[in-house]
């Protein structure tokens, strides 16, 4: 891809982000509920207190002016102060982001490791018992609510068997110095195998819960694409050439079948961020999703706006990444 194309793609981001800013801002402004009232709750208050809070939150300004200020500040990376934490929103989001990214990546890894081999086997051994089991399993995986599945895992592996911890990222006493803020990576940097394994035990249940739906979906996509690819002329030709079965499946069929899988995986990674909200709550995972849900309920406008923009940028970026991967998998595709 030429640098010019890259710049063009990046420029396309601008109207997307602007549009999203307008929508999020308007939605928050139009949703009933007053953050000042929510903050004060039932306890003693008076008009002077409400006014000073409104001023501190910047809510004393007209909506249009608030929006212009928000845009102007957002361009410089300043998203304002969280209404309730009374600290910069950027700082708060950055504190929570590594946990969410780590969980998402591990879920993605689990999903891919489970889905692609199963999808290939199901396609190659079509209508076998294994294929049927995998299909039924993926139906279950797609339709099972993450919340419920997570609680079931906790009851079995934490409460009954005591194998895995209920919540958190790492056990107390296993802490490692924060370098990348990805606990698994930091444990390796510190050379602490025990901490790494402990962090792995902590992330296992949330990652499986989060990755389950994705694994099921990817498996179905891979299977369909593989079935299609295996029926193509070039596969028949490759077989006729006398290439080994493994080589035909691996090099010829799978490589082409992976294109839709990669697209779905990239787009679904974005939705993993959304799914995080539930999984993070169930497993007490200190990520961004939980923070955003709380922020929506408490009408914490600056936090919600910044987080939604971040989600949007992530989505666009992942789609871009999917496009790049196409060109690797299929050199005929040009960006």
């Amino acid at each position: 891809m030429t640098p010019l194309r890259l710049i063009e793609r990046l420029l396309q981001l601008v109207p997307v982000l602007l549009g999203i800013s307008v929508i999020v801002f308007a939605m928050m402004a139009l949703t009933p509920g007053d953050p000042v009232q929510i903050m004060l709750g039932d306890s003693l208050s008076n008009e002077a207190q409400k006014e000073s809070l409104r001023r501190d939150m910047g809510l004393d300004l007209p909506v249009a002016e608030r929006f212009v200020r928000f845009l102007g500040n957002a361009v410089t990376g300043n998203f304002g102060l969280s209404f309730f934490h009374r600290r910069p929103v950027g700082e708060i989001i950055l504190e929570r982001l590594p946990a969410t990214i780590e969980l998402t990546l591990v879920s993605l890894l689990i999903a891919i490791l489970v889905a692609i081999p199963l999808g290939v086997i199901a396609a190659v051994r079509r209508d076998s018992l294994l294929d049927r089991l995998a299909t039924v399993g993926s139906m279950l995986g797609v339709s099972m609510p993450g919340f419920w599945f997570g609680i079931l895992l906790i009851l079995l592996f934490a409460v009954q068997l005591h194998w895995l911890p209920v919540s958190g990222r790492i056990g107390f006493g296993q802490e490692v110095p924060a370098v990348t803020r990805f606990v698994l990576v930091d444990a390796l940097i510190a050379g602490r195998l025990d901490s790494f394994l402990d962090a792995l035990r902590h992330i296992l249940m949330p990652a499986v819960t989060l990755g389950l739906g994705m694994a099921a979906l990817l498996m179905r996509v891979t299977r369909t694409a593989m079935v299609e690819a295996l029926a193509q002329d070039y596969v028949v030709f490759a077989e006729a050439k006398g290439l080994s079965r493994a080589r035909v499946i691996g090099r010829h069929a799978l490589k082409n079948a992976l294109i839709p899988t990669v697209t779905v995986a990239a787009i679904e990674t974005g939705s993993l961020l959304g799914g995080n909200m539930i999984v993070e709550t169930v497993f007490g995972w200190p990520g961004l999703g939980r923070l955003v849900v709380e922020a929506i309920f408490t009408r914490n406008y600056p936090l919600v706006q910044a987080a939604v923009l971040l989600y949007a940028v992530t989505y666009v970026f992942l789609n871009f990444l999917a496009d790049l991967l196409y060109t690797v998998l299929n050199p005929k595709v040009r960006l």
Binding site: D42, S43, Q49, S52, E95, G284
Partner: protein, 509 residues
Amino acid sequence: MTHAVSRVLLAAAIGLVGSAAGAAELRVGYSADITTLDPANHRSRVTEGLILNLYDALLARTDDMKIVPELAESWKQIDATTYEFVLRKGVKFHSGSEMTADDVKFTFDRLVKDGAMGGQTSPRKSLLGPLKDTSVVNPTTVRFHLAEPWPILAAYLPFQQVVSKAFVEKVGTPAMATQADGTGPFKLVDWRRGDSIILERFDGYYGGSPDLAPVGKAGVDRVVFKIIPESASRVAALLAGEVDLIDELPVHSIKQIEANPRTKVLATNGTRSFFIPMNNTRPPFNDARVRLAANLAVDRKLIIDRVLSGLATPLNGLLSPESYGFNANLPSLALDVDRAKKLLAEAGHPNGVEATLDVANAFKDVAEAVASQLTRAGIRTKVQLWEQTTLSQTWAKPETNGRDMVFQSWGDGALDPVGIFVPVLKGKDRGNYSGYANKDVDALLTSADTEVDVAKRSKMYQDAQAIVAKDTPLIFLWLPQDVYGASARLKNWRPSPRGVVKLHDARVD
């Protein structure tokens, strides 16, 4: 010689290992993360509950809600608008400096002066009513100056924790959100945002209020608050032995926790009353007879036993029986369906009335139980679900919202009528969803606001309750208990009626 040295070393090593293994650590499964560690920069009970482990206040509350001195040694009223506090000597901040009158003045200036928190104004300012200034008399004496008489100053001082002037000036208000230097029984080790807050015993602790036994240092070496927002996961963590104490134990898990030999249920009266405002500004509930009928139609005891596992106290009025100014002689509102039907007929509704009960999702179950009982007595009630914030906004103006009834609650940690009776029942006040406005009640409440004589003020509130009991603008319901789950190894900790988890007394086996 070498032998002796190695023996000493060995003994030291064993001693170290022994003390590390024997360190008493208490883990708490906490339902929400705190928003800040700055005692002056929040309005959240969850946050305050944690901060109370790090910071002490001038005054404190006993378990039976008596106000006692904490960082103050004594206090007295000088005149209608001046109070004097003598401070305890030898109280140390975690950083080692001694607390003086300057710190107290700085703390309260920061709370009540506009823009005193790095340009912003404390959200806790109005919790100090008309307090306008604090002056230092000598290093151990401060005076509070009020703009007008405010009899409940002492009741609200346990909500304000004293900070160190030197520390705040050194780190600045933004850093106060994540750092702490208090006078409390524990000091901060680490706050891992969204995950946990780790505290350890402060060995320089002065011991706490002499009126709150046991006096002395904290009973455990380390406390870990683990944030576990989902209640099923919190219960699971307790059952799995990962935590020793959880807050907000859901009612449906009580049996499970009670049945397990390693866990127990702890409960205390909460400070949040539940009630149903009827829209007094429009038919059918503008008729006092219909409102009384609704009150007589509800079987509080049955709902408490069946839906709330018995963990609530039925109310004939708005106030908790533990509140200052509680009137114990209000007429009973025990179930009487026949009388309710008769009252409806007298009010011109022999065939009953139709009504809608608005409720936020969280309280759907109890609201439906109440609705079915109202329906049985002839007030045919449909339940409508709302999102909490939208609901509050709709009911802020009952005279124009066209609605009938709403399921509401109001919390008041100070247990003074000013914090609950006034906002809910004074005409046009901020929590008055019923639209009730009674001149005599309003006059009594206004006088009580500035009445300094404790007995006279109490009498005013009791009279106001008697009038409200005749008008029954609300369906009075109950006062739920705050329910905690604990492991059997947790000793010496009782839930506080203030609804905060202060762990100074707690021990673990």
